[in-house]
Each structure stands twice: as structure tokens, then as C-alpha cells.
């Protein structure tokens, strides 16, 4: 049973517009949430994270929003750039001595010039 769901397998947006990537999780015990970006033939690259004590974290063009009651998080990219085209993975964890990550299946973002 999938603990992390990224229900939209792909998203296409125009350069300069906003990209919104969504993620849902099932277990309310998870308390730390991360987004990773992956290019072909490379490993995932850490992008941004948020703790369960916050509802928003911003880093440049990237903002992550967390809605704990809905067990939902989203990544906003504004403005989107062609170099943002990649697969984006949502990951969740329970902080502690073994912070293993549980990933969703990923969303392929295409930013059209």
C-alpha cells in the first residue's frame, strides 16, 4: 500500500508560469517532508524540505506548503524555467536515528520555452 502518492504522473507548463506539484501521504506520524529533483542518469538532488511544525518554507523560486490535516504537501515553482524540466519526487520521513525516506513515484515536469 503506497504511503506517498503523487497522483499526476506528468505536468506541462509554459516558461514563466507557476508549476504546482502535489503530494499526499497516508501516515500522520511522518514529521519531515522533502522534495527531490532528478535528471536522467543522475541521482536525486535535494531541493527543499519542511518540518511538520511549519506550513510553508520558501527558497528562492521554490516554496513548499504543508497541510497536515489533509496530509498534503505541494511544491510551487515560480517562475518556471526550462531547466526545471525533470522528475520531482516527494519524500517523507519520521525524524530520529534512522531517517529513511519513503518516496512517491515522481512527477515529470516539462517547462515549455
Amino acid at each position: 500500500d503506497q504511503q506517498v502518492k503523487q497522483n499526476s504522473p506528468s505536468l506541462s507548463v509554459q516558461e514563466g508560469r507557476i508549476s504546482i506539484l502535489n503530494c499526499d501521504y497516508t501516515n500522520s506520524m511522518f514529521d519531515y517532508f522533502l522534495w527531490y529533483k532528478k535528471y536522467p542518469a543522475e541521482g536525486p538532488t535535494f531541493l527543499i524540505s519542511i518540518s511538520s511544525i511549519k506550513d510553508k518554507n520558501e527558497d528562492g523560486r521554490f516554496t513548499v506548503f504543508l497541510n497536515k490535516s489533509a496530509k498534503h504537501l505541494s511544491l510551487h515553482i515560480v517562475p518556471s524555467q526550462p531547466g526545471d524540466s525533470a522528475v520531482y519526487f516527494c519524500a517523507v520521513t519520521l525524524t530520529g536515528a534512522n531517517s529513511k525516506l519513503t518516496f512517491g513515484k515522481g512527477i515529470t515536469l516539462s517547462v515549455r520555452p
Binding site: Y32, G43, F46, N98
Partner: protein, 114 residues
């Protein structure tokens, strides 16, 4: 570079062969993780080391999979008697301390079992 490195990048093995995959984590990183990524899926946890101690191997799919990190730095994931279902990308990640959740990934080893 100072990132996580993995070797080989690509490995083709005949069914039944043993393989060994190597991971060099970021220097000084205490925690090391192995993940398996099947095509079209997200990475799935295999095992976790804190320094040289393997604290969690709950994700290893069978007793054919074995991992070690004898000196608390380089780690090796060994798969014995490979099967076709072992074909996947094997990712290694490290983090600075056990309580830091941000993990930094290597490029992965793509294993193809024929």
C-alpha cells in the same frame, strides 16, 4: 568533487552471477543509506548504516542481498545469484548526522540482469 560517488555506473550480469556495488559517501557523513529504484517508481529503502553499524536492513528483499560498511566510510552492496527482478538502479545516499533528514544521493548503479 565532494559528492557521493558510486561505481560501477552500469553493470550487466548474467542470471546467477554475484555482483558488488560500491558507494563512497560524502566525507564525514555518519549515515549511509541504500535504495533500489525500479523503472517508473520512486526509490525504495534497502538498508541503513550509522558509521560501521548496520542499524536497519528491513528493506533488503531477500537473503541474497548483503551490505557492509566495515570502516564507517565506503560501503558495498552485494547481490548473490542475481535474478532478473534484481534489475534496477541502486542508489546510495549519505547524511551528515543521524538526525539530519536531508540525504545526498550518488548517481546510482544501473544493474541489468540478463
Amino acid at each position: 568533487g565532494a559528492g557521493v560517488s558510486q561505481s560501477p555506473r552500469y553493470k550487466v550480469a548474467k542470471r546467477g552471477q554475484d555482483v558488488a556495488l560500491r558507494c563512497d559517501p560524502i566525507s564525514g557523513h555518519v549515515s549511509l543509506f541504500w535504495y533500489q529504484q525500479a523503472l517508473g517508481q520512486g526509490p525504495e529503502f534497502l538498508t541503513y548504516f550509522q558509521n560501521e553499524a548496520q542499524l536497519d536492513k528491513s528493506g533488503l528483499p531477500s537473503d541474497r542481498f548483503f551490505a557492509e560498511r566495515p570502516e564507517g566510510s565506503v560501503s558495498t552492496l552485494k547481490i548473490q545469484r542475481t535474478q532478473q527482478e534484481d534489475s534496477a538502479v541502486y542508489l546510495c545516499a549519505s547524511s551528515l548526522t543521524p538526525t539530519r533528514s536531508e540525504q545526498y544521493f550518488g548517481p546510482g548503479t544501473r544493474l541489468t540482469v540478463t
